[in-house]
Symmetry: C2
Subunit: 348 residues, 2 copies
């Protein structure tokens, strides 16, 4: 029992036990209807008795194609990505496949390493939010090799792959409009680095919306990352401003940042939304459960993942008939108490 080096019990042993050929065993596994119910039962019994488990490596070596799909995300700790993952997983699992999650942590080296291994594994396909702009050689190689790639949360002008994304300019615009409508005239944008397309787009959207209204000042507080810690630092900087120059509203490039800002403001005795209104982006679950529930721009995160996986599987199934598509979802605004104070228990 459990002796090291013991021969794997393979299809061959099963065949021997059931008194059939290996081909028949394979048929039982892959096209059960092609074998008489009698022998089929005999084979199944043998499989159970021997505790046989199919060897995926051999199967895929022969088939030349795997049933696993990989998703490479920028940050597994960010609830935005975990939700995208859940959406993708749902679709892949339903198709009988397996989704493996890889974390690049925004580090190009780790991303390269993962991609190299995934290429060696000949994965069925790849969902990825690339660290950089996403034009690197490695991705091109995968595509040339015939491995479908879908860009997630990154628009793409390229025509050799699909992409799914959310309109970040529109999202920024929604946020800007909302703050303008609330009467704010001095607003800060907190986010960075601006090399991240999402950050730049959200800022551009807000800027455009405010320009249409006119007479509104949008100052930028650039951060080094999109984390809560960075948010707290930004809040400190803002609190240090003389009250007359201090913005009356803050638009954060994502919710982690907004949560940090919220804490920073509270620590410094500023109340949200009374003293400063605050709006985030992503509408992660923690936005709603924050002590001051956060107004945020909602992105269909699970759907992003689902759609990406669907496009991928479609291409994997039949690359000939598949036409590459670029799906862009619309975000929408979710208004909560961080921008609009509620009358406490007034209605009851």
């Amino acid at each position: 029992m459990g002796v090291r080096g013991m021969a794997e019990t393979g299809i061959k042993e099963v065949a021997l036990r059931a008194g059939v050929s290996v081909g028949t065993v394979s048929n039982v596994l892959n096209r059960p209807q092609a074998v008489s119910s009698q022998t089929r039962q005999r084979v199944l019994d043998a499989i159970k008795e021997l505790g046989y488990v199919r060897n995926d490596s051999a199967r895929h070596l022969r088939a030349g194609r795997s049933r696993t799909v990989a998703i490479v995300v920028l940050d597994v700790s960010n609830p935005f990505f975990t939700d995208v993952v859940q959406g993708a997983e749902e679709v892949v699992a339903q198709a009988g496949g397996m989704l493996v999650v890889c974390n690049s942590g925004e580090d190009p080296a780790r991303e390269r390493h993962h991609l190299a291994l995934l290429e060696e594994q000949r994965v069925q396909g790849l969902l990825i939010t690339p660290v950089g702009a996403g034009h690197h050689k490695q991705l091109e190689r995968l595509i040339e090799r015939g491995i479908p790639v879908v860009l997630v949360d990154r628009g793409s002008g390229q025509n050799n792959r699909c992409s799914v994304a959310v309109d970040d300019v529109l999202g920024g615009r929604l946020a800007g409009q909302h703050l303008a409508e609330c009467g704010h005239r001095r607003i800060a944008f907190v986010g960075g680095p601006f090399t991240i397309p999402q950050v730049a787009d959200r800022h551009a959207g807000a800027l455009a919306a405010l320009a249409e209204v006119g007479g509104i000042d949008l100052q930028v507080v650039e951060t080094a990352s999109l984390s809560a810690v960075a948010g707290r630092e930004a809040a400190e900087a803002i609190c240090a401003l003389p009250a007359a120059k201090r913005p009356t509203a803050i638009f954060c490039a994502n919710d982690l940042l907004a949560l940090g800002v919220l804490q920073g403001l509270t620590t410094n005795g500023l109340r949200v939304p009374h003293d400063i209104a605050l709006i985030g982006y992503d509408d992660i679950d923690f936005a709603a459960t924050a002590a001051v529930p956060l107004t945020s721009v909602h992105q269909p995160r699970e759907q992003l993942g689902r759609t990406a996986a669907q496009l991928l599987l479609e291409e994997a199934e039949d690359a000939e008939r598949h036409g590459h598509r670029h799906v862009v979802f619309q975000p929408h605004l979710v208004v909560r108490q961080s921008t609009v104070a509620v009358k406490r228990k007034a209605s009851r």
Copy 2:
């Protein structure tokens, strides 16, 4: 280019191009020192020119052993688990391997499905927080088959596998002691379902600590899950109590719950910690960034993952010499404002 069905460029083509045998190419890849630097260079050139990428399936079929490690977690959305994953990934990546993350979502069926696929893949090893008690046949089978399994965040009496966990009874005790020392005499425990070992242990620990002090009432508010939503519901129930019966402190079985409770209390006009003190468990990052920073029982999450991965790799390297171990970490208390009000800007 990119024509479907085109033959893979394999080790054979490389050998042809470099004018050597396949064995030599393999040697260049696996023991470079065993081949003259001259031929080695020729082979490497050929590899680059042809864009050759090793086929992992074939490699593992031959080797009988894979370089991927899998981790199956209960909930990828829970920051506790994402941190454990990061710790494990760090160790596995350093060893040149690859960590794949699978999500069971607390669903036994999904867990079974994942385990079945992982078994077919002959993964090098498995880190898992099982959905149930963790005695199922499937895990035993993997172990019999010679695949190392390490239980994560679940103690284990079994002697055929390693486990890493944190002492939940001690954690509960720390929380109970702290609240008692703060002078609370009417305390509520919010958590559930009690079939989850962690929940039961944390409650038991708190109970024991309070019994030692004596004269303290610990009522239980059982929840259906460990989510923020469940926490809000529990808070509603508590707020509905007459003030005289209402607890003056709440111990939540994890931070998600505590964040929900915090929001629920705030919504109902109760201030934390002035009206009710609140303590969570896990010390996830969001605990510190909540508007009222949460006192919480800290668990060494990344280290949990790192240690689990190390034990696994050790066993995978040399199963003979490996002795199974059960590592138990000690949690510690992190006191923040949710249990102890700070004098606002008093010291400056």
